[in-house]
């Protein structure tokens, strides 16, 4: 029964992949090799499509692989398999947090955790920035500094940042405007 197998395989990924959506990638590669359900080529497509569509990357990847293995229902089953462990684990932790939320130890732990999370997200942001705003590969090839930077992107970045700071619009408005600018100006 392919659906049960799919559910079980993605349940294991959801249970063991720590560190977000991209952390599921090595598990998916291992799954491809072990089961022969899909090829390595499909993994490259999966990453490209998951990054270029709305939704968390990890979920997009699970749905994409599931659909390719066993159709529409396969996509649903794979995604649910990956989500179920998270729901259980987080509910259990939430229940115990309710009891200990006001305790000194939990409060002190969060005192250390908050700046750490700020650092982790800043690092993720810089990672995205390197890919989104600079042409690293081209620069390494030519060594010309003007190949590294794309003035259009720098201007868009500055305008978006000032807009976000000054105007209190919903983030999706900035995303939509950027998409239009990208198409019109040929980013």
């Amino acid at each position: 029964m392919i659906y049960l197998q799919l559910f079980w395989e993605f349940l294991k990924i959801g249970l063991f992949a720590v560190g977000g959506g991209m952390a599921t990638l090595p598990f998916l590669q291992e799954l491809a090799v072990r089961t022969g359900w899909f090829s390595q080529d499909l993994i490259t497509d999966m990453i490209a499509i998951s990054e270029s569509t709305p939704g968390p990357i990890g979920i997009n990847m699970a749905t994409y692989v599931g659909v390719n293995i066993a159709g529409v229902l396969g996509g649903v089953v794979a995604t649910m398999g990956e989500v179920v462990p998270a729901v259980f684990i987080v509910i259990i932790i939430s229940k115990s947090l309710e009891k200990f939320r006001k305790s000194k130890v939990v409060e002190d732990a969060f005192y250390g955790l908050r700046p750490a999370v700020t650092g982790l997200i800043a690092a993720a942001g810089i990672g995205v920035m390197k890919v989104a705003m600079f042409h690293m590969a081209l620069y390494q090839q030519t060594g010309v500094l003007t190949d590294l930077i794309d003035i259009k992107k720098i201007i868009l970045f500055a305008a978006a940042f000032i807009g976000i700071k000054k105007l209190k619009w919903h983030p999706v408005v900035f995303i939509a405007i950027s998409a239009v600018i990208g198409i019109v100006l040929g980013f």
Binding site: E51, E82, I93, L113, V117, I121, A124
Partner: protein, 188 residues
Amino acid sequence: MLSEFLSIYWKFFKMGAVTFGGGYAMLPILRREIIENSHWMEEEDIMDYYALSQGLPGIIAINTSVFIGYHHRKTPGAIAAALGVVSPSILIITVIALFLAGFKDNVYVQHALSAISVCVVALILDAVLKMWKKGVKDGLTLCICLVVLALSLMTKISPVIYVIAAAIVGISARAVGRARKNGKEAAK
């Protein structure tokens, strides 16, 4: 009850539909919807849930959504949030995987995405600056933030390690601080 379940589902559905990238890209949208529009919780609560989500198995966006859903309406809220945030992915990816083979090669899609990713960087920067204000309060927290940032950029250490280490540092630094304070008071 059902209408409440559906309204949480719909709220997370909308957030899932406009998140481009991983869990970090969802943060600006979460802040906006959960803190500013709905007032379900404070900035610190979201940061704490985000921190825990990084250290737990599973996809960060899902973990955070389940924490927020539970915080708002217990287990039904948690389930509604999880289902809501994955639904747009299932719909969109299924359609693309089955019908739109050339989607990622389309030149307009590429131009739009290339500009969207620049905008996402600006949104993340804004979110980081807001978190900085709440999380970095003294020399030690400044140190933790910069060390985690530098190590994340230079090494491939798992986030779980940072989460565990930062919690231990927080607990022990506060314990040492209190012990010193007590010692001084005792000396007086």
